[in-house]
């Protein structure tokens, strides 16, 4: 399914509905699910993508990719929180775009070309071992964040997951920029220490 920018604009103005109903629409393979998602979470997802990409055109493209991936994922997946599910897809998509762009901007030398060619020889990160390791690391990060006070946790997730600017994150967490900066620094140090204790040496 290919969703154009025009389609997204056309569906504006549709009344919002609950997440459960939107998910049901996906499960029924009803195309209005995408329009409803756009209506309800379009701005939210665009913001996440823009935070990562810093470019509106690429951001809109990433959001459109998100709708497409969501369409593919549901069914069989039934997300617990639709907004988070969509945000994760957008985030991953946008980060992939950034990485692709960064790679494209590298100096066109033979060394870089060889790196790209050699990358093909290395098995990708989807091996069972790497996947387990990544999940363990993710769980450790989760545990560490759970030990943090709510204010600190919100700030950390806002800054590093939602990739909001320090100013914005500090603002919606109700603290000064200086305090937020100091708090983030302490949290990073704490996370590093925690991961080392858990046996992760990245």
């Amino acid at each position: 399914m290919r969703l154009s920018k025009r389609t997204i604009i056309a569906v504006k103005g549709v009344s919002s509905m609950t997440d459960e109903r939107i998910v049901d629409l996906y499960w029924k393979r009803d195309e209005s699910a995408v329009a409803q998602t756009q209506e309800k979470y379009g701005h939210y997802l665009t913001k996440i993508a823009y935070n990562i990409l810093g470019n509106m055109e690429d951001s809109l493209e990433s959001v459109n990719d998100t709708y497409m991936r969501a369409w593919k994922a549901m069914p069989p997946h039934r997300p617990k929180v639709l907004s988070v599910f969509l945000a994760k897809i957008t985030r991953r998509t946008a980060i992939d775009v950034v990485r692709r762009h960064t790679r494209e901007k590298r100096i066109p030398s033979e060394y870089i070309y060889s790196l790209t060619e050699l990358e093909e020889c290395i098995p990708d990160g989807n091996t069972a071992e790497q996947a387990v390791e990544a999940e363990l690391l993710a769980k450790a990060i989760n545990r560490c964040l759970c030990t943090l006070p709510q204010e600190t946790r919100n700030l950390f997730i806002g800054r590093y997951y939602s990739l909001d600017s320090l100013k914005d994150a500090a603002n919606y967490c109700g603290m000064s920029e200086t305090k937020a900066k100091a708090l983030l620094y302490r949290t990073r140090c704490g996370l590093k220490e925690y991961l080392q204790k858990e046996g992760f040496y990245i």
Binding site: I95, I157, Y172, I202
Partner: protein, 247 residues
Amino acid sequence: MKKENRGELIHDELNLLDEDMIAQTDNLRRNPVGRKKRKFPLYRLAAAAASLCVLATGSYVWGIISNPLPEEKDNAPATKSEESVLESQFATEEISSGNMDYIEENEEDAKNELESMPPTSSSDVCQLKNNYIRVSVLTHELWVNAVSEEEALQQAVTIDTKYKQDIDKLVENMCTAGYVSTQKVSADKDVVYHLFFEKADKEVVHCRLLEDGYLYYEDRSEICLILDKDIYDTINGIIETHWERKE
């Protein structure tokens, strides 16, 4: 692993964060709590008050330091008065030897000094009845000021220590009695006034004010005060005013 790659890895791991946790943050992002209002705790108020107190104390102390105390002011005439005794002794010698140049010169100086003096005689004498009198003899100057009882007593003590006993008694009488009675005797051409200073214990001290500025302490038959002509005139004016009022 490179630093960049480590960051990328963490970013990838963050994608696997607990959904509830992210939802909580998302909720906050949509409904921000906003910046907390700055509190103005009591200790800040106390600090401000303390600063004000320090400033006030500092300005008060500075005021004391920069303005000389009244006692210091009173010390100045005392130094001068010692000079005046010496000068009066010298003047006695000069006058008795008939040195007219010295007398004329001094008369001019005295006139100049009186012109520069604040108007004391007329205004202060008006309050003679109701107030105590402070008399301090400076160099060829007689000051009569209306002051409080307490200050008059202080001045009396100061004068006691600085001047001859006879002058002190004269001043003391003026201070304590608060009034002066005079009797004019025209028969004796040298004597202008016979002054009777009545003390608090009703003892009368008889003095003669001579035309040439000599003040005789009658009971002891000795000179107790040598007055310059202008000073003499000032005293004369005081006595006349007071005499008229007594009448």
